[in-house]
C-alpha cells in the first residue's frame, strides 16, 4: 500500500497496539486530538483511553512513567510533542532508562518518538535534531528512518527491542515522503541501507538528509556516487560504513544536526581510525553550524545543509 511517512508511523503504532496488549501510548494531546501532527489520529477511537493516554505537560513524568510501566512488563511508546522537548525528560531517559540494565539487570523496553528536524520555520524550539545526545549516553538505541517503509519497520523493531529506543521521525518528511509499505507487520534491522550504489564517492547520512543527498547526487551527471542511509545511529553499522569507505575511497558525511559531535563526527572518526589507508581524499562533512535553528526562512536556509551545499562538497571531493 502507498503511505506517507506519517501514515507509515501511524500504521506501525496500530499494528503494535493490535498485536501486543502490552503496548500503550503516552503523550501530550495524542488522544482525542490525535497528536500535534496527527500521527496518532484514530488510535484513541480504535483502542480507547487505556491504550492511548493523554498526559499532563510533563516530559519527566512521561519518560519516568514509561520506565516504570516497562519494568513491570508493558511496552510504552511515548511521543514528545517536538523533539526539542525531550530536554525536559532528559534525566529520566539518560539517568534512569539508559543505565537501568547495566546497574540492575533490568530492561526498560520503551520507545520515545521524537518529531525532529528543521525546514518548517519552527524556530529555535521546534526544529531540533538532538539525536547525538542519546548516542553519547550509554544504554540507549537511536534510529532515524528516511522512508515510509523504514519508518514502519524501524518503529516496530524499536517496540520489540528490549532496550530504550529513541525514534527520530523527521517532521519535514511526514507528508512529503510517500512510498510502498507492506501491509503486514515487519521489523527493519538496525542496520544501514545502501540507497544507490556507486564506487567513486560515498555520501553517508540519515533522515531527511537522505533525500537532500539523493537530489544532489542526481545533479552530478556521470559520477558513480554511492548513498548510504545509516538508519540506525546507535548501534552504528560500522561494517557498512567501513565497507563503503573502502569501496569508494572518498567520503562526504551529511548531518542536519549541529556540526560539533554530531553523528557524522563519529562516522568520520571511525573511518579515519579504521579506513585511513583506503581514502583518496579528506573526509568532508556538511552539517548545520553550531547555532540554534533560526526562525526566518532566509536564515534557516542559510544554516541547514542544502542540496547545493551537498553537491558542492561532492564536486570538491570528486575533483581532489
Amino acid at each position: 500500500m502507498q503511505l506517507t511517512y506519517l501514515e507509515a508511523i501511524t500504521d506501525a503504532l496500530r499494528c503494535a497496539l493490535r498485536d501486543d496488549e502490552r503496548v500503550f501510548l503516552l503523550g501530550e494531546d495524542i488522544g482525542v486530538m490525535g497528536g500535534a501532527f496527527k500521527v496518532t489520529a484514530g488510535l484513541f477511537d480504535e483502542f480507547g483511553p487505556d491504550r492511548v493516554i493523554d498526559t499532563p505537560i510533563s516530559e519527566e513524568a512521561i519518560v519516568g512513567g514509561a520506565v516504570g510501566a516497562a519494568i513491570v512488563g508493558m511496552r510504552p511508546v511515548c511521543e514528545m510533542q517536538f523533539a526539542d522537548f525531550v530536554a525536559c525528560g532528559f534525566d529520566q531517559l539518560v539517568n534512569v532508562a539508559g543505565k537501568l540494565h547495566y546497574r540492575l539487570g533490568l530492561a526498560a523496553p520503551i520507545v520515545l518518538r521524537l518529531p525532529s528536524g528543521g525546514g518548517v520555520a519552527g524556530g529555535p524550539y521546534h526544529s531540533a535534531n538532538p539525536e547525538a545526545w542519546f548516542v553519547h549516553a550509554p544504554g540507549l538505541k537511536v534510529v532515524a528512518p528516511s522512508t515510509a517503509e523504514d519508518a514502519k519497520g524501524l518503529l516496530l523493531a524499536a517496540i520489540a527491542d528490549p532496550n530504550p529506543v529513541v525514534f527520530m521521525e523527521h517532521k519535514g518528511l511526514y507528508r512529503r515522503v510517500r512510498g510502498e509499505v507492506p501491509e503486514e507487520p515487519y521489523e527493519t534491522p538496525f542496520e544501514a541501507r545502501t540507497v544507490r550504489d556507486g564506487d567513486e564517492l560515498v555520501v553517508i547520512t540519515y533522515g531527511a538528509m537522505v533525500h537532500a543527498a539523493l537530489a544532489a547526487i542526481e545533479q552530478l551527471d556521470g559520477a558513480s556516487i554511492r548513498l548510504l542511509d545509516l538508519r540506525s545511529l546507535e548501534p552504528l553499522d560500522e561494517e557498512a560504513i567501513l565497507a563503503a569507505a573502502r569501496d569508494c575511497s572518498k567520503v562526504v558525511i551529511v548531518d542536519e544536526a549541529n556540526y560539533s559531535c554530531a553523528i557524522g563526527a563519529q562516522v568520520s572518526s571511525l573511518i579515519a581510525e579504521r579506513a585511513f589507508e583506503d581514502l583518496d581524499g579528506p573526509i568532508i562533512r556538511v552539517a548545520t553550524p553550531d547555532v540554534p535553528i533560526p526562525f526566518a526562512p532566509e536564515l534557516e536556509r542559510a544554516v541547514l545543509p542544502s542540496v547545493e551545499r551537498i553537491r558542492a562538497a561532492c564536486e570538491e571531493l570528486l575533483a581532489y
Partner: protein, 347 residues
C-alpha cells in the same frame, strides 16, 4: 501468599499486628542498624570504596511501610531505607558485599553504597537524582491499573526530593490517573545541610491537598504507626481510591554521608530525637509483652558478623565484565516478587 480481601480488612477495623509481626518489625529495624553499623565500620577500615550513607534513626519508616506490602507490590527505596531491602528479602550478606563492590553483591560492583535494589524481589534501585524514582513508581502503578491488577507501587523520598520539578510532575500525573501508589515522605529535617525550612514553606499535607490527593501525617519513628498508615493507604489504593502521601516525621541522626560531620545540626535537636529512637520505642513494647529482646538482638548481631566475614572474603568483579551488559538482549526480565511477612497476608 494471597492478598487479604480489602473489604474484609475494612470490616475487621484496624488489623491487629500479631506478636510475631511486632517482633519481626523490631528485628528488621535491628538488622538495618546492625548492617549499617557494620558497613560503617568496614568503611572506616578502608574496605568500602567511595563514601558511606546510612539511615540511622529512620529505620521505623522504611521497615514499617515495606512491611505493609504484599509480595506482588513493588517498591522504590531511597538513601535511608536499607530496612526496605531487608524486609523484601535481600540478605545482609548481599548488602554488605554490595557496599564492598564485590561481584556477589547486589550491584555486582556496577553500582554501590545505597544504590541497591534486587529486581527479582520487586525492588528498583535508586539513582542519585532524588525524585527520579517517584516517576518510575507512578509508571508501575499505572501499569497495575491498566491491567486491573490488585497491586500497588510504593516510593520513598526525602524532604529535599520534594523540591525537584519532576517530583511535582510525578505527583500530579499520579493524581490525574488515580493510580494505586503509596508515597512515603521521610521528612528527616535536613537535605544534606539544608534544613527543611529552606526547602519548602508549606506543610507537606497541604501539598497533597493541592494535587487533589490524600495526605496523612505519621510519627516516622513509630514502626507500628507507619505500618498502619501504609496498610491503610495500600488498601485504599487497591480499592481504586488513588494515591496517598504519607508524611513521616523523623530525623537523620548521622550526617548526609560518613564524610559529613553534620556540625550544622543543633545538638539539642539530636538529643530530642535520640530520646525517640525507633528501636527503643519498639523494644519497650516488646519488653512489656515479655519478649526476650536481648536474644533477638544477639541473633541479629551474630548474623551480621557472619555476613560481614563472608562478604569480605568474596571476590572482586572481573575487570573484563566492566563493558558488558549495557544493553539487554532477548525477552527482558520484569520485576519479581518480594517477601511479604505481615500475618494479615498469610491468614
Amino acid at each position: 501468599m494471597s492478598t487479604l480481601d480489602e473489604t474484609e480488612v475494612a470490616e475487621r477495623g484496624a488489623p491487629a499486628l500479631e506478636q510475631a509481626d511486632r517482633i519481626a518489625l523490631f528485628r528488621f529495624m535491628a538488622l538495618q542498624r546492625a548492617v549499617e553499623e557494620r558497613g560503617l565500620s568496614l568503611y572506616k577500615q578502608g574496605k568500602v570504596p567511595g563514601s558511606f550513607y546510612d539511615g540511622r534513626g529512620q529505620e521505623a519508616t522504611c521497615v514499617g511501610a515495606t512491611y505493609a506490602l504484599d509480595a506482588a507490590d513493588t517498591v522504590c527505596p531511597l538513601i535511608r531505607d536499607m530496612g526496605a531491602h531487608l524486609v523484601r528479602g535481600t540478605t545482609p550478606l548481599a548488602i554488605l558485599a554490595h557496599y564492598l563492590g564485590r561481584a556477589g553483591g547486589v550491584g555486582r560492583g556496577r553500582d554501590g553504597n545505597v544504590h541497591i535494589g534486587e529486581a527479582s524481589r520487586g525492588v528498583v534501585g535508586m539513582t542519585s537524582m532524588l525524585s527520579d524514582m517517584l516517576g518510575v513508581a507512578v509508571g508501575m502503578a499505572l501499569a497495575f491499573k491498566l491491567r486491573g491488577e490488585r497491586r500497588c507501587a510504593l516510593a520513598f523520598f526525602g524532604d529535599g526530593a520534594t523540591s525537584v520539578g519532576d517530583w511535582h510532575e510525578a505527583v500530579n500525573f499520579a493524581a490525574v490517573q488515580d493510580v494505586p501508589l503509596v508515597m512515603v515522605l521521610e521528612n528527616n529535617g535536613y537535605a544534606y545541610s539544608t534544613p527543611t525550612s529552606a526547602q519548602f514553606k508549606v506543610d507537606p499535607l497541604q501539598r497533597a491537598a493541592a494535587y487533589g490527593i490524600r495526605g496523612v501525617a505519621v510519627d516516622g519513628n513509630d514502626v507500628e504507626a507507619v505500618f498502619e498508615a501504609t496498610r491503610e493507604a495500600r488498601a485504599r489504593a487497591l480499592a481504586g481510591g488513588g494515591p496517598t502521601l504519607i508524611a513521616a516525621e523523623t530525623m537523620r541522626m548521622h550526617g548526609h554521608g560518613s564524610h559529613d560531620d553534620a556540625r550544622y545540626v543543633p545538638p539539642e535537636l539530636l538529643e530530642y530525637w535520640a530520646a525517640r529512637d525507633p528501636l527503643d520505642l519498639q523494644r519497650r513494647r516488646l519488653v512489656e509483652l515479655g519478649v526476650d529482646v536481648a536474644a533477638i538482638e544477639a541473633a541479629v548481631t551474630a548474623e551480621v558478623a557472619a555476613a560481614a566475614q563472608a562478604a569480605v572474603a568474596m571476590g572482586a568483579p572481573d575487570p573484563a565484565s566492566a563493558t558488558t551488559g549495557v544493553y539487554a538482549t532477548g525477552e527482558p526480565a520484569v520485576l519479581g516478587r518480594g517477601e511479604a511477612h505481615w500475618s494479615g497476608f498469610c491468614s
